[in-house]
Amino acid sequence: MRTVHTVLGPVPADQLGAVAVHESLLSVLPGAEHAFDVTIDRAEIFETLAKKLTDFRNAGGGTVVDVTGMFHGRDLPLLEALSRSTGVHVVASTGMGPEELLGGYFLTPQTNPPTPWPADRFAALFGAEVTAGMAVPRVERRAPAGLVVTAVTRIGRTATDESLLRGAARTARATGVPVAVCPGDDALGDLEIVLEEGVAAERVAVAGLDRRDVARETVLAVVRRGASVVLDHVGADDDEHLTDRERADLVLALVADGHAGRVLLSTGAIGVAKGLPDDERPLAAVLEGLVPLLRSSGLDEPTVHRLVVENPRDLLTVRPGEEA
């Protein structure tokens, strides 16, 4: 059976419904959990997130993919309880990045010299989160991760970013989960590194491609290479990203160019932020904002369905990996 790894276990892929594919439910800047002025009230966080997930479900949403990775506030018991209570499937991720967000364990280990981790060690760390289950640090493992995520330093790839990309790619190849990458200033170069590791292009999603500093040529090159693009700031109203009108035009252009199967949409919202600015955009911004815009611009219903249901389903469906 074709299944997806959710926090509550495997779910048949055709039951995901409409998917918000690149979101952060609880996002904690590493270290903020120790800060004197940061309060982590789990009951309050639950209530806030449950409301957002319920609104999403009421807007027709079925599944939320949490791409915070393993070291940015991921709280598995909380995500499990949210999924059980709201009926929304939650797919959680392993992985981390960019370099600046890593702990010293990976960057200045207790060896002489303190050599940063190479790709194979990251691959083993992330891979265990898929094969043995996601870690509740020093306590236990829970359900297998549904995807592996990493990110590259915005101003340019560091050596450790490259190790992270390769480690994430090897994880995807070995375990059959997809890999999502937030690129730096060279999205195509970042993608090439992932593909060099032998992961199929269709298993790779490149996020953040609705940034203003990303040329349309780059977006086209990513899809022509066979990877998916995630336009993951739907509803954003800032200087850094396209407007929804511009985003809709980009989607229409990609569809017209024959790439409807390579486009993913998301809000990139943060449900609850700790140590970071809040982000009040609703998870349903794709379904309630962009999709109506696409429809009124002439996008047909099968293509809408493809973008919000079929593409995420195909990406998240776990393929037999080398370890299977």
């Binding site: 590493p30 270290g31 903020a32 002025d37 020093r138």
Partner: protein, 317 residues
């Protein structure tokens, strides 16, 4: 009134007894908690830790200063339970082992924010534990030179030390000129600073002890027991006799009042294998006998292990 913050509340300095001034219940680099290689079930952690603390207590040990930084697996609730069950006073720290162990929330922070955080942990408490930090930890990042972040942490620590009266312990005392300059600028007398790891293998020869002592700093011979004679010594190990002779030479030159000793051992390491056979009890089983064999009298040993740490740890008003 003399007082020292322990994890179970303030105590008078007279109650500290013999102090191990630079130790770890369990240390791991930030992020090591994600790697199940190192996980231990709670039974195992207690089984590794409690007998060492009980032995410490039976040897006459009074106080265990844990200098595991904020993001290194510092676990104050665990320390509270250990202290209550073994009778060993445990002092916890605020601060960081070095800039390279401060996670992004703190790495991005200003000096003012870091100082507020340290002061909060010293005067209000650490997280929701109710326990107040008794010392501030700072340190030099890997690489041997103080980074910009290390310096922000040192300056914030100096401000918190001036404001609250708790002392500072450093991880490493190499490249100390910027540190001494920062402490001077912030008005912190150097007898409130223990310049640590002045005795380890790679760093002892590049740590300017005399320069620091002349300015009133305290010097930590706080890696006693990390010896090249161990079956599997770490890279910071040093020949046993070389460290001891080095220490005795400082005593002979009259620096007793500025010296502190400890073992920097892990009771139950969190993110590394630890060093087999090395515990805080080295102080009793090896160091004290070695000092006696070298002709050091008991009054000097008491000064090193009781009086100096009491003076150092007492909150200065």
């Amino acid at each position: 009134m003399s007082r020292v913050n322990t994890v179970l509340g303030a105590i008078p300095a007279a109650e500290l007894g013999v102090v191990a001034v630079h130790e770890h219940i369990g240390y791991g680099m930030p992020g090591s908690e994600l790697d199940s290689t190192w996980w231990k079930i709670p039974e195992e952690r207690y089984a590794e830790t409690v007998p060492k603390l009980r032995e410490f207590h039976e040897h006459g040990g009074g106080t265990f200063v844990d200098v595991t930084g904020i993001c290194n697996g510092r676990d104050v609730d665990h320390y509270r339970s250990l202290s209550a069950k073994t009778g060993v006073h445990i002092v916890a720290c605020t601060g960081f082992v070095g800039g390279d162990t401060a996670l992004p929330h703190f790495a991005r922070a200003t000096v003012e924010y870091l100082a507020r955080h340290f002061v909060h942990e010293i005067t209000v408490g650490i997280g929701g534990t109710g326990a107040r930090a008794g010392v501030i930890k700072v340190g030099v990042s890997r690489g041997g030179r103080m980074t910009a972040l290390d310096r922000r942490i040192y300056r914030a620590a100096a401000r918190a030390a001036v404001q609250t009266g708790v002392p500072i312990l450093t991880h490493l005392a190499i490249d100390p000129e910027p540190a001494v300059a920062i402490f001077g600028e912030e008005g912190l007398p150097l007898d409130r600073v223990l310049f640590g790891h002045a005795d380890d293998g790679p760093n002892s020869s590049i740590t300017p002890h005399e320069w620091l002592l002349a300015r009133g700093g305290r010097i930590g011979f706080d890696t006693f027991g990390y010896e090249t004679e161990l079956p599997d010594p770490p890279f910071w190990a040093r020949p046993r006799k070389e460290r001891l002779d080095h220490f005795l030479s400082l005593l002979e030159r009259g620096h007793l009042g500025q010296l502190l000793v400890s073992a920097d051992a892990n009771c139950s390491p969190l993110g590394w294998p630890g060093v087999k056979g090395h515990t805080v009890n080295y102080l009793f089983t090896d160091l004290i006998p070695d000092l006696r064999d070298a002709g050091v009298d008991d009054a000097v040993i008491t000064t090193l292990l009781v009086d100096n740490p009491a003076d150092f740890l007492s909150i200065r008003s």
